[in-house]
């Protein structure tokens, strides 16, 4: 099932399917946010935003408004 990264719940993992290159800064891609890579939601900040992610071994935080432009497929 395909979702956006913004819908991932705490502790869940998924595979990145597609990244909208217009909306996503190059910097995020360079940090490993690329199709095929594994992403895990480590922690949600208070008020549910930003999201603390582990993408491909890199730990980083992004806002939900960015996460909706990243398509994922959840691990079953």
């Amino acid at each position: 099932m395909q979702n956006t990264l913004a819908e991932l719940k705490r502790g869940e993992r998924a595979i990145i399917i597609d990244v909208s290159s217009i909306h996503i800064p190059l910097k995020l891609l360079e940090m490993g946010c690329l199709p095929g890579n594994l992403v895990e939601l480590v922690q949600l900040a208070p008020f549910q935003d930003p999201m603390y992610l582990n993408i491909n071994g890199t730990h980083l935080a992004i806002r939900k408004e960015t996460a909706i432009h990243i398509l994922i497929e959840k691990e079953v």
Binding site: K27, L60, R63
Partner: protein
């Protein structure tokens, strides 16, 4: 002939690049600026085997060669410009063993520039913890480089690194991958158009948004005009390039690196669960701040008293030892008290920098960014604004420069505009001396009243910054793309050497930077206070003696009357009394007025100025604080620094924009005079009104 080897240290942020720099150079380092811009330039000298020396530049941390900020631009500019005197003979890419995959992206890009590139894998001491093992020979072969596996924490592998740098000619310059594969036709055309240039260099120039300063402009412009692709197409190609690089890196690491996850100890998630908790996270953050302010107050009181007394004695001693005259008086009444006014704050400033550098080194600061982003966004700021706002407690100048990593221009501009409200270390001298005069000692729940007042002033500073941001957010009509990416680095025990060097460097630059201004101002002030125009000043002795002739006064009292009469009719006294009507409603006399005026150069001048004004004509040995406490309000009687005027003064300093250097940096960072001008008038006007209300209400 001994030639220096030029070495450029390059790496992602949080890889311990600066630790490597410190390990190589020790105290042989200096910090300056790149010409024309406010980016910090760190360079140093390292002695290599056989008497060879290396000149090492610690370049700003960057994730790739695609610059998105001024700092990152510095890296590319240097690597693309063979004529730069700092152009590296060898590039040393520093990586963190735990983030090797991501760190290698930058490495492969630099390799494509065909510069000899050495790979440093740092934090080797963490390998066992994380169950990581590396096949160095395999990695060296496939990455076409030499590898130095080091641990700056354990001081291991540094000699080997020096050895490899000394033999830089043996390091391969063959690229790892062929980036032009991503669009063969396009790259062929590009090469045809510019046959003498390195293809990857051309590609970098085309895709950068940034300006190239030092590189040959004509050439760069010609390349940049090679527009056969739209911006969106170029970005798609960059994405393709990034994927291609990661494919290569993944392949190499599949064989060259093994990670046994069962061995990994996960301190990070345990700490994160507490430190980013929705309740405890904030509680801990607040407790940390509280502890810092209490510590700044408690730990530094002893050395401060010592310094204060030492300067008072030094001034007295100078007067007694040197023959009487203008020079002695300049030294004892102008320069020494003026310098004392800055040296006294070294302990506190050093402690402040100590705490800030520990928070940053440990990785905690990123958690605060994460925790605060949602809250800060309501005020038009970013979670990343927290770092400038906190480091603004040291100095607004580096804080404003630290806003560069805020991606959205609107959020960044608002942060720049409100950062000067946070209580910088230059306000500390003013606060401390006034608090010690008007707030009684004593404790509440183990915290001193004086420390609590100080904490309150810091909170007022933050609160004003945040509220001003909210207003600006509603007023400013700027549309800019917002996005937010922050790396959450591993928790690390701060390295003593790094912290010590930071504290030393920052304190030194504070003291020398401020010291120069203070020295100049105290000489000018001494002159203005020691000389005056007309008969009133020159005949002070006769005037006073006639006036008090009927009263039986001791010689000492007469002398005091003469001194204060002289001061009142000196140049400074005349100026001071001219501005007195404007500041009297705030509860100040003309001497404070002079101190405030000179504070517009830099706030910390306030105490030095008062010290100089009060010393002129005063013979007794007294500390600055005692002299201020002894001042009497000329109109109302009673101490001049009482509760009402003290609070008014504290609030004035909390809000007024009194720092030329900050205004200059704001001008540079916003590239316009509009913003610093607005800051100066709005902040200072607001300060005046608040101080006025406070005094009128409390008196």
């Amino acid at each position: 002939m001994s030639k220096q080897i030029n070495v450029a240290l390059i790496g992602n942020p949080n890889t311990g690049k600066t630790s490597v720099f410190n390990a190589l150079t020790g105290l042989n380092q200096k910090v300056g600026n790149y010409p024309g811009i406010t980016v910090e330039k760190k360079e140093g000298i390292c002695k290599l085997p056989r008497g060879v020396k290396a000149h090492i530049i610690d370049l700003p941390g960057t994730y790739s060669l695609n610059a998105s900020s001024l700092d990152e631009n510095v890296v590319i500019e240097l690597l693309l410009n063979k004529n730069d005197k700092d152009f590296p003979d060898i590039a040393v890419v520093v990586t963190d063993v735990e983030n090797l995959k991501r760190n290698l992206l930058l490495f492969t890009q630099i390799k494509d520039l065909e510069i000899p590139t050495l790979l440093v894998i740092n934090m080797a001491d963490r390998m066992r913890y994380k169950g990581i093992s590396l096949d160095i020979d395999y990695l060296e072969e496939h990455l076409q480089t030499k590898i130095a596996l080091i641990s700056t924490r354990k001081n291991e592998g540094i000699d080997n690194l020096k050895h490899l740098i000394a033999n830089y000619k043996e390091v391969s310059v063959t690229p790892c991958i062929n980036a032009s594969d991503i669009d063969k036709e396009y790259f062929e055309n590009l090469q045809k158009a510019f046959p003498n240039q390195l293809l990857y260099k051309l590609w970098l120039v085309i895709t950068q948004d940034v300006n190239f300063g030092k590189t040959d402009r004509n050439e760069i412009e010609a390349v940049a005009n090679f527009k056969t692709k739209s911006k969106a197409d170029l970005k798609r190609l960059q994405q393709k390039e990034t994927i291609k690089r990661y494919q290569f890196i993944n392949n190499v690491l599949k064989h060259g690196q093994a990670i046994d996850v069962s061995q990994a100890k996960d301190l990070r998630s345990k700490l994160d669960r507490i430190l980013t908790h929705k309740v405890w996270g904030y509680v801990i953050f607040f407790v940390i701040l509280l502890t810092i302010f209490q510590a700044i107050y408690d730990w530094s009181s002893v050395p401060m008293d010592f310094i204060d007394n030492a300067f008072a004695s030094l001034s007295e001693w100078t007067k007694n030892q040197l023959p009487e005259g203008a020079f002695t008086s300049l030294l004892a009444e102008g320069i020494i008290p003026g310098l004392g006014g800055i040296v006294i704050f070294i302990p506190q400033i050093a402690f402040l920098f100590l705490f800030i550098s520990v928070l940053e080194e440990s990785g905690y600061m990123s958690r605060v960014v994460f925790l605060m982003d949602r809250v800060m966004r309501r005020f038009g700021l970013s979670g990343k604004s927290v770092v400038p706002l906190i480091s603004g407690t040291a100095c607004a100048i580096p804080a404003i420069m630290a806003t560069r990593n805020i991606e959205s221009w609107k959020e960044r501009l608002i942060t720049i505009l409100v950062t000067p409200f946070t209580t910088c270390s230059a306000r500390l001298p003013v606060y401390l001396i006034i608090i010690s005069l008007i707030i009684p000692e004593g404790r509440f729940l183990g915290l001193g009243y004086q420390a609590l007042t100080l904490m309150l002033l810091y909170l007022i500073g933050f609160a004003t910054a945040v509220l001003a941001a909210k207003i600006l957010n509603n007023v400013l009509k700027i549309k800019s793309k917002t996005f937010f990416v922050v790396e959450m680095p591993n928790y690390k025990l701060p390295m003593i050497k790094n912290v010590a060097l930071t504290v030393l460097e920052k304190t030194k630059s504070f003291v020398f930077g401020a010291g120069k201004i203070i020295l100049a101002i105290s000489i000018i002030l001494w002159f203005l206070a020691s000389y005056g125009p007309g008969d009133d000043f020159n005949n002070a002795e006769t005037i006073i003696k006639t006036e008090y002739a009927s009263q039986q006064l001791s010689e000492e009292e007469i002398n005091q009357h003469i001194a204060s009469y002289k001061l009142e009719h000196s140049y400074i006294g005349i100026t001071g009394r001219a501005i007195e009507p404007a500041i009297r409603p705030l509860g100040y006399d003309w001497k404070i007025g002079i101190a405030i005026v000179s504070s517009f150069a830099a706030r910390e001048v306030f105490v030095g100025t008062l010290a100089t004004i009060y010393s002129v004509g005063n013979d007794d040995e007294a500390t600055i604080k005692n002299r201020m406490a002894a001042e009497v309000n000329p109109i109302l009687g009673g101490p001049l620094f009482n509760f009402a005027s003290g609070i008014s003064l504290l609030l004035f300093y909390a809000f007024a924009m009194q720092c030329m250097s900050t205004l200059a940096v704001v001008k540079k960072e916003t590239n316009s005079w509009k913003w610093p001008t607005l800051q100066l008038f709005i902040m200072s006007g607001f300060a005046y009104i608040v101080a006025l209300i406070a005094y009128q209400f409390l008196k």
